[in-house]
Amino acid sequence: MTYAAEGVSVRIGGATLLDDASLEVGPGEIVAVAGPNGAGKTTLIGVLAGDRRAGHGAVRLGGRAVADWPRLELARRRAVMSTDRTVAFAYTALEVALMGRLPLHGGDPTDEDRQVIGDLLVAVDCAHLAARVFATLSTGERQRVSLARAIAQVSDTIDAAEQAGGQASEEHVVLPDERYLLLDEPTSSLDPAHQHLAMRLLRREAQAGRGVLAVLHDLNLAAAYADRIVLMARGRVVASGSPAEVLRADLLESVFEIPMLVIPHPHLSHPLVIAEPTTSPPWR
């Protein structure tokens, strides 16, 4: 039972965006995808989400091809956070976040939906922004509200989580056990405190059984929170494994084309990565 890309290739015109890329994320784990710009990370999210068809290879959720899932069933099993933060019209942050529950309520949010959204807006430190117009929020604030929206789509209420397989209220859809979050750079515009807030929230979701796949540029954030890191370059998966296995200076230097210092974290168990100043251009 995983969400997996198996030997996926995507070509557009003469460009190869993904080249025989494979990865999988299972329930309860956080997988970080890292790599330089243009490595194919966003394309990979698009293929996993079902937005793009792979030219070769397969994308499966729970053993079934993503293209074969009915839309609504898929929406109840995986949420996607893209990097697009434009919302037409003057919807409030609360209204935008509530849209994440649409696959569950179909248009009439229940008290349960409102409770989930309320809790998540607190969790992303946006409760005070709920009544503000989404389009007028700062980039980081919009990113946090969008994260809450994505998590809400596949999240239980605290009550429902406590019941663990118990009966849900009659009008409410019971979400399947296996659920995933596909997040494209969920922390890119956040300050350090909110980056860690967001990652702790994702850790909590993973502990609740969600599989989390997140594109992260901050290797130290990935080292601190990810169970596995998938390193991509030029459309290929270059390395995949625990932070300690993947965050090696030689590997990172060949992928990012900049000198990298990798040292043990002074008081935590994961490595610390520092890109070093260089005068040479980042291309060969």
Binding site: T86, F89, D108
Partner: protein, 324 residues
């Protein structure tokens, strides 16, 4: 209903309605007043309200689909397409000798709807690139499409040389002067269900505001939603035009006012716009009839005088968003 070339006091209106129901009342009225009220004024007010609701909700649908408050089917070729269809339909009805019958009205409305749908499909095809709509392209393409279809309509009217076809001014500026009971029946049968179906699409249109692919991630069949909403606003526009010609800016102004009044969610905006649109157009029609009485002003002249500055104000307000 009392205002016009033949004055009817509110008490006299009550008396006429009661009289029609076979009830006595203390007020008296003339036979002329009764005829004017039941054959002209009541159908006209009902048709005006329905057409106002139709334009306003057509605007809600089109704006929701194109994700911008700047879309007005009357300005962007859908109305002009409907006018061309209605003119062709009228020519057909005249040729078949059914212009004055219900069948004739149905033919006119049907061809207006069909042509509005074709115009909507052409506009969507031009204004969307791989599933994403570009607002600036929509505005430019819509205006050019509108001018082209209006020119075709003028051509049809000139070639038809028949008074039943109506004038270019009727089709492009709108008027409720020739409204009949059949118009009211057709408009009611189309507009009321269409508004309800559109309101039911509300939550999906809300999600579409996040973007096409984001809506898809929420389990929405965006292609299907596009077709359903296009059908609805073409239907509403087609019937509105068949009854009273193209009345610009109602579909632009009313949804914006409704959003300020009831909030953003499309279900409420659709309902609020239907009410506001009906009210505004009834008031505008009274003004059109009475300002230069006995000469009647085209109702589109009034809506344009208010709506055009409103459009420019929206453009100014959303300038930053459009530049993206």
């Amino acid at each position: 209903m009392g205002i016009g070339a033949v004055a009817i006091a509110p008490a006299e209106i009550v008396a006429i309605v009661l009289g029609r129901l076979g009830l006595a009342s203390p007020w008296t009225y003339s036979e002329q007043q009764e005829t004017v009220l039941t054959a002209i004024r009541i159908p006209r007010v009902l048709a005006t309200a329905l057409v106002g609701a139709a334009w306003a909700t057509a605007g809600v649908g089109m704006q929701g689909l194109y994700r911008t408050p700047l879309a007005d089917p009357a300005l962007l070729g859908i109305g002009a397409g409907a006018a061309l269809g209605a003119a062709l339909g009228t020519a057909g009805a005249v040729a078949l000798g059914v212009a004055a019958e219900l069948a004739g009205h149905v033919l006119v409305a049907g061809s207006a709807v069909a042509a509005a749908l074709v115009a909507a499909a052409i506009l969507y095809r031009v204004a969307s690139a791989s599933g994403r709509v570009v607002v600036a392209t929509m505005l430019l393409a819509g205006i050019v499409l509108s001018l082209f279809l209006a020119a075709l309509t003028a051509l049809v009217l000139a070639a038809g040389r028949s008074p039943e076809l109506g004038s270019v001014a009727f089709w492009t500026l709108g008027s409720f002067a020739g409204v009949t009971g059949a118009d009211v029946v057709i408009a009611a049968l189309v507009v009321i269900p269409a508004v309800i179906v559109l309101a039911r699409q509300g939550p999906r249109l809300d999600a579409l505001a996040l973007g096409e692919s984001e809506a898809g991630h929420l389990g929405i069949d965006v292609d299907r939603l596009t077709i359903v909403v296009s059908l609805l606003f073409a239907l509403l526009t087609g019937v509105a035009v068949a009854v009273a010609g193209v009345i610009a800016f109602v579909a632009l102004m009313i949804p914006a006012v409704a959003r300020a009044w009831v909030g953003r969610p499309h279900r409420a905006v659709a309902g609020g716009s239907a009410l506001l649109g009906a009210t505004l157009l009834v008031v505008a029609d009274v003004l059109a009839r009475s300002l230069f009485s006995p000469t009647e002003l085209s109702i589109g002249v009034l809506t344009t005088l208010v709506g055009a500055p409103f459009f420019l104000w929206l453009l100014l307000r959303d300038r930053g968003l459009l530049a993206r």
